[in-house]
Symmetry: C2
Subunit: 438 residues, 2 copies
C-alpha cells in the first residue's frame, strides 16, 4: 500500500541527470520513494494511497543537507559581534561554559534544528557538546542528524579528559550506531585544539565503526600560521600526514588552501564544507570554491552556527555559494546554478557517506522532500526551476517538509513540536547568557 503521493508539481530531482519534471509526482512507501513519474501515471497509486498531497504551484525537491552546523549555538545568536574568529571564540567559549548543560544544550538544539527544519533542511551535520541531546532534539522534531562524540583537548563544557571523550564517543555508537535517522560521526574540533595523537585516536574510533570523521580545517589565516609553526606543515598537509583524510572525512571551511592542498584533498576523497556567511562575517575569507569544484573535491554547503551567521539559512548559503565567487573571481560563470544546488543536496549527502539514502529524489531513497511555494511576488515569473531555487527562493517559501515520508512541517509550521514553547524557554534563559560575558 502506498503511504503518500505528492503530485501535480514541478519536481527538481537533483539526480545524476538533473532531471526536472514539469508536472510530476512521487509515491512513498515505508518512508522511501517508490516511484517518480508524470502526475498522469500516478493516478492509480494516488487512488490507493493513505495520503495524497496536491503540489500545484510548488516545486518538490529533496530536503536540503546542512553539512556544517552547531545548532545549540543558536542560544548565543548575536551575543558577540564583529571580531575575527580567534578572539571571538574566546568570548563564545566563555558564554558556552557558563550556560551549557544537558538541558540548555537540548534547548539550543531544539531552537537551531527547528529553524533548519522549517526552512527545508532535513539532514544536518552538527558538532556540539552532549551530541545525544542533539539527537533527541532532532528526533522530537522529526529531522535527520549526523553527529557524535567531540574531541577537544581543553576541558571545555563537559570537563572530560581524553578517557572521557573516548568513552562518550563510544557510547554514542552504542546508542545510535544502527539508527536510520542518525549518521554517526566522531568530531574532533580542529587541529589547533586537538593534538595529533588525539586526532588519530578519534579517527581510529570512527574507522572502527565505519563512521564519519569531521573537523574544522583551514578556516583562517591565523589557524594556518598557528599549525604551520607548531607542526611545520599547513593544516591539510598536517591532517594528511597524520593519515586522517579519506572518503569518510569531512572538513569544515577549507578557506585557505594552496594548489597542492587542493590536490591532496582531491586525491584523498575527503569532503569539504563551504560556509559562506560565516566566512564573510568573521572575515575568514573566500574559499576557493571554483577551484575545489574543478578539482573534483566533494564540496558540501553549511550554515555554521548562528553565533557566526547569525542564523541557519541554507537558502542564503546557497545564494552566496552561487554568487560571491562570481564577484570575487570576476567570472560570471564561476559557479553554476547546478553546481550550487548540488552542494546543498547531493554533495551534502555524499559528504555524509549517505548518497544512497538522501540528497536526491530517486526510487529507493528516503522520502526526505520539501515543497516550495513558487507563486510569490518575489518569485514569479519562473523560467527555469533550478535557477529559481538558487537565486530567487527564500526560506519562507518552504511550506511543507517530509522526512521519511512523514510530514514534519505543514504550511510553514512544525507538526511535531510547539515552537512557542522553545522560544519562551530561550527568552527565559537570555538574561543569564547576557550576564555570562558581562
Amino acid at each position: 500500500m502506498t503511504d503518500l503521493v505528492i503530485r501535480n508539481t514541478t519536481i527538481v530531482t537533483c539526480d545524476g541527470q538533473n532531471t526536472v519534471l514539469t508536472d510530476g509526482g512521487v509515491a512513498v512507501e515505508n518512508g522511501r520513494i517508490t516511484r517518480i513519474a508524470p502526475s498522469s501515471e500516478l493516478e492509480s497509486a494516488a487512488s490507493n494511497a493513505r495520503e495524497v498531497v496536491d503540489g500545484t504551484g510548488h516545486i518538490l525537491m529533496p530536503g536540503l543537507v546542512n553539512a556544517h552546523c552547531h545548532a545549540g549555538d543558536s542560544l548565543f545568536r548575536g551575543l558577540v559581534e564583529d571580531l575575527p574568529l580567534e578572539p571571538w571564540l574566546q568570548v563564545v567559549w566563555k558564554a558556552q561554559g557558563a550556560t551549557l548543560n544537558r538541558e540548555t544544550t537540548r534547548l539550543g538544539s531544539m531552537l537551531g534544528l527547528s529553524e533548519l527544519l522549517l526552512s527545508g533542511v532535513t539532514t544536518t551535520m552538527d558538532m556540539f557538546w552532549y551530541p545525544d541531546e542533539t539527537v533527541h532534539a532532532a528526533r522530537t522534531l522529526g529531522a535527520r542528524i549526523s553527529t557524535g562524540g567531540i574531541f577537544f583537548d581543553p576541558p571545555g563544557v563537559t570537563g572530560d579528559d581524553l578517557k572521557g571523550r573516548i568513552a562518550a564517543a563510544e557510547r554514542f555508537f552504542e546508542e545510535f550506531g544502527d539508527a536510520e535517522d542518525v549518521f554517526p560521526a566522531v568530531l574532533p574540533h580542529g587541529a589547533y585544539t586537538v593534538s595529533p595523537d588525539n586526532l588519530k585516536t578519534a579517527k581510529q574510533i570512527a574507522d572502527r565503526h565505519g563512521a564519519l570523521f569531521c573537523t574544522h580545517a583551514a578556516e583562517t589565516r591565523a589557524e594556518q600560521a598557528d599549525i604551520s609553526s607548531r607542526y611545520g606543515r599547513t593544516v591539510i598537509r598536517h591532517l594528511d600526514h597524520l593519515g586522517l583524510l579519506d572518503e569518510r572525512t569531512v572538513l569544515a571551511h577549507c578557506v585557505h588552501l594552496d594548489d597542492e592542498e587542493i590536490d591532496i584533498l582531491a586525491r584523498s576523497g575527503a569532503s569539504a564544507v563551504h560556509n559562506p556567511m560565516s566566512n564573510l562575517k568573521l572575515a575568514s575569507g573566500f574559499a576557493r570554491v571554483p577551484e575545489m569544484l574543478t578539482a573534483g573535491i566533494p564540496l558540501a554547503l553549511g550554515t555554521d552556527g548562528a553565533i557566526s551567521g547569525n542564523d541557519l539559512d541554507m537558502w542564503m548559503a546557497l545564494r552566496l555559494a552561487a554568487t560571491m565567487h562570481k564577484g570575487y573571481t570576476g567570472r560570471a560563470d564561476a559557479v553554476s546554478t547546478a553546481q550550487a544546488l548540488a552542494m546543498a543536496t547531493t554533495a551534502g549527502a555524499k559528504s555524509l557517506d549517505a548518497e544512497e539514502r538522501i540528497g536526491s529524489l530517486e526510487p529507493g531513497k528516503f522520502a526526505d522532500m520539501i515543497l516550495i511555494d513558487i507563486k510569490r511576488p518575489h518569485a514569479v515569473p519562473m523560467f527555469d526551476p533550478v535557477t529559481h531555487l538558487v537565486y530567487s527562493t527564500a526560506k519562507s517559501d518552504v511550506r511543507h517538509v517530509f522526512v521519511g515520508g512523514r510530514q514534519v512541517v505543514r504550511n510553514g509550521a512544525l507538526t511535531q513540536h510547539d515552537i512557542a514553547e522553545t522560544i519562551a524557554q530561550v527568552e527565559q534563559l537570555q538574561p543569564k547568557i547576557a550576564a555570562s560575558i558581562a
Copy 2:
C-alpha cells in the same frame, strides 16, 4: 486628533543618536510622526486615537529606502543568467524591446513594488521606461517612489529621440513635481549610453526643477575601460569634468573607484548606491564600501533590478553590505551594523534629498514605519536590536507596513491590491517573454 498610535514595541529610530527605545510608541497625525515616547507616556494619545496598534513582540523601525531599482525588470527575473554585465545587457534589452509597453511596464512595476512593499521598503528610487506608470503602480500600492524621465541615446523601448526624452522628462515634472509621494528625478542611463551633451542636458533639467540626477556609474571594469578610451577620463572624472556631481546626484554602483575618485565623490557631495547582490552575481566586483564610508560619501543601498538580483530583497542587501566587505578586506569590523543600517535608511533618505522627510522615526517626518516580528525561531534570542536587524532579520519577518500613517501591509499581505491578480497576469505574459529571446 491622533490618527494612529503604535506602542509596546522596541523602536529602532535610526535618528542621529541611533536612539533605541525598549518599550516605546509612536503617535501619528496627518501622515506625520508627532511624538515618539515610552509607551507609558502615550496612554492619553492612545485613548484618543482613531487606531491603536499593539507592537508587542516586534521592532518598529523606519521603512527601508531602496536607492537603486528597476522594478519593471521583475518581469524578466531569471531569464538571462551567468553572463557579465555587457553581454547580459544585450539580451536583457532584446527581451525588454519585445515585451515592454505602457501596460506591461505597469505590470512589471506592480510586481516589483509589491515585493518591495511586502518586505518593508516604503521608498524606492526606480529607473525604468514609462516612469509615470511606475508612479501609478506605487500609488496603487501606497508606496513612495523616486523616478522620472530617462535619457538613453539609442531608441530603446520607447523609440524617443533627444527631443522626446526632454519632453518626457519635463512632462514628469508637470505631472508629479509637487506630489508628496514622489521624489522627482532625471535619470540618464549611464555614461556609456548617453553622450556628454545629453548628460548635461539631463542635469540642466534636473537642476531647473531642484530635482535629483541619477545614473549608473563605474559598475564594471569594462565600463571604466570604455569611458576612459572614449573620453580620456575614468567614469567619475568624466562626470565631474562635465559638472554633473553635486548633492542631488545619485550614482548607482560605484564599484571601481581609485583613491582620487573617492576624493572627488566625497568633495562633490554626490551619493553612491551600493548594490551588493547585483555586483556579486554579475561578477562586477566589490565596491570599496569601507573606504567610501570613511571618506564621508553618503552611501545608500539598493537591490538593483530582479533581472540581476534575482529578487528585490533589501534585507539580503543589508546583510551583504555588513558582511561581504569583512570577508573581502579580512577585517571583522570593516562595516559596522550601525553603518549598514544607515545605508538602508538615513543614507537612502539623504541620497533622495529627503532626509527631512523619511529615513528615520522622528517627529515631523512622514510616518513610514514597519513592524518586524522578532519572535521567530531564526531570530531569538535578541541581544541587540540593531545587530538583530542587520544579521538575523529576513524579509518574511516584516508583518506590517505603514506609509504616511496608512497601513499598506497587514499581517504580511498588501491592503491596497490583490497580488494574486498581478501574479496571474505575469504568468500569462511569461511565454511571450521567453519567446522574445528564443
